[in-house]
Symmetry: C2
Subunit: 243 residues, 2 copies
């Protein structure tokens, strides 16, 4: 039986989602718990390979099992075994052709910024801290200019080996509440570090490096060095995955 | 010169605000940094002695110093020395008769609850987790019945030695956003554990133990055992202090 898990995690303590040598990844922690629970080696596939320090409110993963544990009980059983910074928010049966990564219709990312003179104690692992005041109107205009289908090569970490760098951004919105700015970006897929480079470019817009009118040129250049810095991992959340 | 500090902290790692033997308190960490910064032993007075695990967005403290550091520079200097879970959000000169604790005109506390089947990974140190659905309307009605001037002995941790247990609650409000419930309670002063016992009573109201009509009787009883449980520390924030 194929089981779909929805997973929330605080990425602060982890080397990202994907299992790797010499560092603890979220995937490994969940796989180890599942292997212990079902007494069989379990491998899970996740929708998004979030980086070190990046969080998830709704990561999705699937695995196959012969276990007769009722699908909705995995969440309760796993949550008694997992560390408190990883929680299974739901578990359910999935069709045999469901694939957490390849069946995705879209992903929604969130990015949180604290815009203040001093960093926050309570937001130190959950928000990027920007000391200079942000220009909300310019940032929102720049965000809007990124929506649609474009070749986003300029917004992908250099060294990534993906050949097709065309992606569609469905929505891109920004909200402010006091000194906290939250961005939501949804699309059919994202290149490596794409959301963090978009946010870094927006923040540098506020510093006067870019204006919204520059965006078409930056996109057309397909040149990573034309876009802004990569915003830090701690502000980024995989909010939800759509199928 | 008397200096006023506004302090934000994540209380998770600390034994509370007040300096104590055998455990690390926020007061001690700030005093040690100030002592190092000014090369003289510094003692600070805080507005509220928050408990272990309780957070602060706007704790206020004062100290006296002969140092010639400009008052607004303490925040920047201290933030380079303090651990990232304690931040000085502002520093300023205060009148000689200003006292962080005795000059207060009111305090505003916040309490955050995650109402969901599963605990949250990202909210594990910042929200109390309640598995059962809450009855928002009953809770809000009960909150309202606590406003005004009352003898709150029934809502003080037993064993506290304060003689005068009369306090005035100015405002008491509740907001929901998805599965997160946030309560704000302001008053001229609070007894030991008072906000946490109020919240615990509200949550038990949702379980059917109390109804809003019971509140006047519970208050009149002055009996701690008549009120509800003490809600956990991690949901509580000293939001701000008014002078």
């Amino acid at each position: 039986m194929r089981i779909k898990l929805t997973i929330e995690y605080d990425g602060t303590a982890y080397a990202g989602w994907q299992r790797q040598e010499n560092a603890l990844a979220v995937q490994q922690v969940v796989e180890d718990a599942l292997t212990k629970l079902t007494n069989t080696k379990v491998v899970i596939s996740g929708a998004s390979r979030t980086d070190a320090g990046v969080h998830a409110l709704g990561q999705v993963a699937h695995f196959d099992t012969e276990s007769r544990i009722p699908p909705d009980k995995y969440s309760y059983a796993l949550n008694t075994m997992l560390p408190p910074d990883i929680r299974i928010s739901a578990s359910e049966a999935a069709p045999e052709n469901f694939h957490a990564r390849f069946s995705t219709a879209g992903k929604l990312y969130r990015y949180q910024i604290l815009s203040a003179h001093h960093a926050g104690a309570l937001t130190r692992n959950t928000h990027a801290h920007v000391i200079y005041p942000l220009n909300d109107e310019l940032m929102a205009a720049e965000l809007k200019s990124l929506t649609g289908t474009h070749d986003f090569a300029a917004f992908a970490a250099s060294g990534s080996i993906v050949k097709d760098t065309v992606r569609t951004i469905y929505t891109a919105d920004m909200y402010r509440r006091g000194n906290t700015v939250t961005l939501f970006v949804s699309g059919n897929g994202f290149l490596y570090n794409m959301v963090r480079i978009i946010v870094g470019t927006l923040v540098e817009t506020a510093f006067g490096r870019f204006s919204p009118e520059d965006m078409p040129d930056i996109i057309a250049s397909r040149d990573r060095s034309r876009a802004g810095m990569t915003a830090p991992a701690e502000g980024l959340y995989l909010n939800s995955v759509k199928y």
